[in-house]
């Protein structure tokens, strides 16, 4: 079953499939960014492919590669029961000109997926009807899932209170998952296990 769909795509788009592989039944084609829309439109409409569903659309940042970003779609055919992953590579080293055609005319589910991709990775989709942030707030600067976004950088909407002793405490400290009780209370702290066992 593997490879059949890849051959189909390669026959329909000769010379435009840059790369393809099928590992453990996961078939992947890599196409040029300018063929992005045409390949997807054909994959949706051709009866031998018949991809009715766009499961996911996202991107991956590879800072050492050029082009830097890899936009990925996951397609599935409910009738034929097969899947295909399509990739295209865009963007220069500085993260500029990261642009690719929008798939919203083909699948309605591409709308929010492309907005999320734009929000977190800064990929702009040409032809998207409403390309703005979907998860983060409009005041946010930058794209946090890019590898050059500082891991510690938060952009609070409310300024933090200026009082002592509110630095971030250790999340899974020694009090995590312990049985209950209050050391700050006036009740004496139980230190002898036998005192508790004798209670039953």
């Amino acid at each position: 079953m593997a490879k059949a769909l890849l051959d189909l795509v390669a026959r329909r788009f000769p010379g435009k499939v840059l790369e393809s592989h099928a590992a453990f039944g996961d078939e992947t084609v890599v196409v040029a960014a300018e063929d992005w829309y045409a390949v997807h439109a054909w994959l949706r409409d051709d009866p031998a492919s018949d991809m009715q569903m766009l499961v996911d659309l996202t991107a991956v940042d590879f800072p050492s590669r050029l082009p830097r970003f890899e936009v990925v779609t996951h397609l599935v055919s409910l009738r034929l029961g097969h899947r295909l992953r399509v990739k295209a590579r865009v963007g220069d080293a500085e993260g500029q000109s990261v642009s690719i055609a929008s798939l919203t005319p083909l699948w309605a589910s591409a709308n929010w997926a492309e907005r999320e991709c734009f929000d977190t990775l800064g990929v702009s989709f040409a032809g998207h009807p409403d390309l703005r942030r979907i998860l983060l707030y409009p005041e946010f600067e930058g794209h946090p899932l890019r590898k050059d976004y500082p891991a510690e950088l938060a952009q609070p909407l409310v300024p933090y209170r200026d009082v002592p002793n509110i630095e971030k405490v250790e999340p899974f400290g020694p009090y995590e998952g312990m049985s209950f009780g209050r050391m700050t209370h006036h009740l004496p702290r139980v230190t002898d296990p036998k005192a508790i066992q004798g209670r039953d």
Binding site: A154, P171, M178, S179, T184, Q197
Partner: protein
Amino acid sequence: MGRLSGQATQVAVEPHEISAFTTRLEPLLAWAQKYSLFMYPFVTACCGMEFMGVSGPRYDFSRFGSEAPRFSPRQSDLLWVVGTISQRQAPILRRIYEQMAGPKWVLAFGTCASSGGFYDNYATVPGIDKIVPCDVYVPGCPPRPEAVLDGLMLLQDKIQSGERRPAIVKPRFDPATNPNLGLVTLRRPSRA
């Protein structure tokens, strides 16, 4: 309580019938406040399941006078922050807190509300005390209902004593250092 004797009306009060006592005003008010906490549940995440559990009949924190949830901050004086607070949600939390009428208290329910938990990133507030002052922290992911009840009783103690410094619900004993208890055997042996 009174009885008639002879022709004049006399009221005789036996010593065991005395039902008045004297106190100062502030402890009396604090005593009343700590048993009539009107809570505002600010539930944002999975700790809400545990909040339902502790408010249900099995653990039942209405026993502590914290029975009626008020879904208007203007009618409540105890803010339960239950779950992760994202940076996008922080202005809402701040505004809810500012709308509450004083005196008011804040309880951080769970590790995420207390410290941000394992969400150490651009999207999450690292503890609600960055946004609003917090009275009681209940750690746990999620906390056991008993820990929540202890947090509530700790808050009542703080209201009674007028103490406003933050307090953390801590274990009475650490099973890791008491292996004879047999509660947990797979835990790390000890913490110095």
